[in-house]
């Protein structure tokens, strides 16, 4: 099992979510984060004085999948999150040891994505 953790621009999220859903990967989490990278900070002006805030708002996607699905997820994120400018973000892939579904207590890669026949909300 792998966890894909990607830091992306806000506006890239919706197309990524849409395509992952279509490709059978509906389960993911997002958080609004702030971070620094090569992209320059934001210079704010407040009542005449200025302030450089060196962190910029980004969106973090976390998605745990079976090893075989890693390429699909990475590919989808690359496809939609890349604008070519500095600040597109990064993708990290880390190994996951265990996964347990709380409702049933099941373990293993089976719990990662939806069961057959489970209701998946349509777009």
């Amino acid at each position: 099992m792998k966890k894909v953790e990607a830091f992306i621009r806000h506006e890239a999220f919706e197309p990524i979510r849409q395509e992952l859903l279509e490709r059978g990967i509906p389960s993911l989490s997002i958080s609004e984060v702030k971070g620094s990278g090569r992209q320059k900070g934001v210079v704010e002006h407040y009542r005449g004085a200025s302030l450089t805030v060196n962190v910029r708002p980004k969106l973090k996607i976390e998605c745990v999948i079976d090893d075989s699905e890693k390429d699909i997820v990475v590919e989808t994120i690359l496809k939609h999150a890349r604008t070519g400018s500095v600040g597109d973000g990064k993708i990290f892939v880390v190994a996951v040891e265990e996964a347990i579904r709380i409702r049933t207590g099941e373990e293993g890669a089976d719990v990662l994505q939806a069961h057959e026949g489970t209701e998946i909300p349509s777009a």
């Binding site: 702030k34 704010e44 302030l51 805030v53 962190v55």
Partner: protein, 496 residues
């Protein structure tokens, strides 16, 4: 002299009728009484001015609540700049255009000043304090109308568009409309009847909404409003409590807007207007909530707010012309109209706060409702040249005259719609072709706060500091040992 000042005008020449009578009063005591009465009237007008000014806060909160949080600071800058422009433009030019003159525009009162001679013949007067009160009242109405315009343009319009259009609107567009209805223009005498609009359902609210329509037609929807299938998507505002506060502030301010349009306290008539206002607003909120629930099975928070505003806009024109029983009917119909209006308009035009429905459609309804419900008692009381509404026409048998009044009301609506749309569309089209009226896609996505105003309306939770706040530890100078927990405890300042 009439006991009350004429309702038909926010123009100061109404007062000029009163002044000669005052001067000719022989009895000193009577003169004193008249003066005191006048001062009480002026006091009420100034109190109303403050209430109407407070409506700017209502528009501010309503629009900010219905915006995303990346655009909230922009709303504050917008309201303050537009209020400033409307004030100066009205003082310099707008008041003069709106006042007495020929059929199309006023010709006196530019750069309004004390003792200035305004008007000619019997209506001429020299400006005194009470004229300033009425002039200020008109100015704040103009500012309200201008504030309505921008409701359709949130989250994407260029700031420079505000500055140019606001100047044109407050100096020319709104004053032309006000002159037409209140200042002795064409709409104040249509074949022996006048277009009745007590406090401005059409003059103020429809005018503002049509200006907003012109802007919207040239501006286009926000990014992401319409999906690939062309269907509208909700772009929820970031704070319903703030939007709700905005609605209630507007509701409070409307007491000045409607009841203040009596221009005085004579016969305590202003209290009747206030009650009409309250009844209609309540019915508007209730019926909008009811209709939206029946249509969507949701008790929609935003739509309840739109309903209250629609009820208030609807009763604005008839507030001084209808009996209490008609007010909840007018408000309820406005509340129903606003729900269907928002749901229909949303399919084609991206109007973030529902200004086209709440101010435009409800404004049209309010103006037409006079043709249905205006009562003979209040026509006589207000001294206007009009026929009773269709309700009374059916009862009393003079249906033809009543239908005529409804026609005059409709004509007024149509004339204002066409005039304001033409002038506003021309202005925005020129702006679009020259300096542009819309921010870049990048700026829109980042939000107007950071891209136009250089800051976030809700600032960072994280603000970089040169060092740890209040310097709990000595700076770690090279060569000195790093503070360990024990040394840190020794150097830690006393907590307080």
């Amino acid at each position: 002299m009439t006991k009350r000042l004429s309702l038909a005008a926010l123009m100061a020449f109404a007062l000029s009728l009163a002044l000669p009578a005052l001067a000719s009063a022989q009895d000193g005591a009577a003169a004193l009484l008249e003066t005191e009465g006048l001062e009480l009237d002026t006091t009420w007008v100034i109190v109303s001015c403050v209430l109407v000014l407070f409506m700017q806060a209502g528009f501010l909160f309503l629009e900010i609540g219905f915006s995303r949080q990346k655009n909230v600071g922009a709303g504050v800058a917008k309201i303050l700049v537009n209020l400033g422009i409307a004030t100066i433009a009205w003082w310099a030019i707008g008041y003069g255009i709106a006042g007495g003159g020929n059929d199309f525009f006023g010709t006196d009162g530019f750069f309004f000043s004390h003792d200035q001679l305004i008007g000619s013949g019997e209506e001429a007067f020299n400006v005194v304090g009470s004229d300033a009160a009425l002039m200020l009242f008109g100015m704040l109405f103009c500012a309200v109308s201008l504030a309505i315009v921008w409701g359709t343009t949130l989250e994407r319009i260029k700031f420079s568009a505000y500055v140019v259009y606001a100047t044109f609107f407050a100096a020319i567009i709104y004053p032309l409309v006000a002159h037409g209805v209140y200042g002795g223009g064409l709409l104040s005498d249509v074949g022996g009847k006048q277009v009745l609009d007590f406090a401005g359902s059409s003059v103020v609210h429809l005018t503002g909404a049509v200006g907003g329509l012109a802007a919207l037609l040239l501006l286009g929807p926000r990014i992401g409003k319409y999906g690939a299938d062309g269907k509208p998507r909700a772009i929820p505002g970031h704070s319903m409590p703030i939007a709700g506060l905005g609605v209630l502030i507007l509701w409070v301010g409307w007491y000045g807007f409607n009841a203040g349009s009596t221009f005085g306290t004579g016969d305590n008539f202003f209290a009747e207007v206030a009650l009409n206002t309250q009844l209609a607003a309540a019915a508007g909120a209730l019926f909008a909530m009811l209709v939206v629930y029946m249509k969507t099975k949701t008790l929609d928070v935003g739509m309840a707010g739109n309903g209250a505003i629609a009820g208030l806009v609807g009763i604005t024109a008839p507030s001084g012309y209808v009996e209490f029983w008609a007010a909840p009917i007018i408000g309820a119909v406005a509340g129903i109209i606003v729900v269907y209006g928002v749901l229909t308009i949303e399919k084609y035009l991206d109007d973030p706060v529902g200004a086209l429905s709440a101010h435009g459609l409800a404004g049209i309804w309010g103006t037409l409702s006079i043709g249905l419900f205006v009562s003979p008692r209040l026509i006589e009381f207000n001294g206007v040249t009009a026929s009773p509404g269709i309700w009374y026409g059916i009862k009393d048998g003079d249906l033809g005259a009543s239908i005529g009044q409804l026609g005059v009301q409709a004509l007024g609506v149509a004339a204002i719609f066409v005039l304001v749309l033409a002038l506003s569309y021309a202005c925005f089209a020129i702006l679009k072709a020259t300096i542009g009226i819309r921010v870049s896609e990048e700026e829109e996505l980042a939000g107007l706060d950071i891209s136009t105003h250089g800051m976030y309306g809700y600032p960072e939770a994280f603000i970089p500091q040169e060092e740890y706040p209040a310097g709990r530890f000595e700076p770690n100078v090279a060569g000195t040992p790093v503070a360990t927990p024990s040394t840190a405890a020794a150097t830690r300042p006393t907590e307080n």
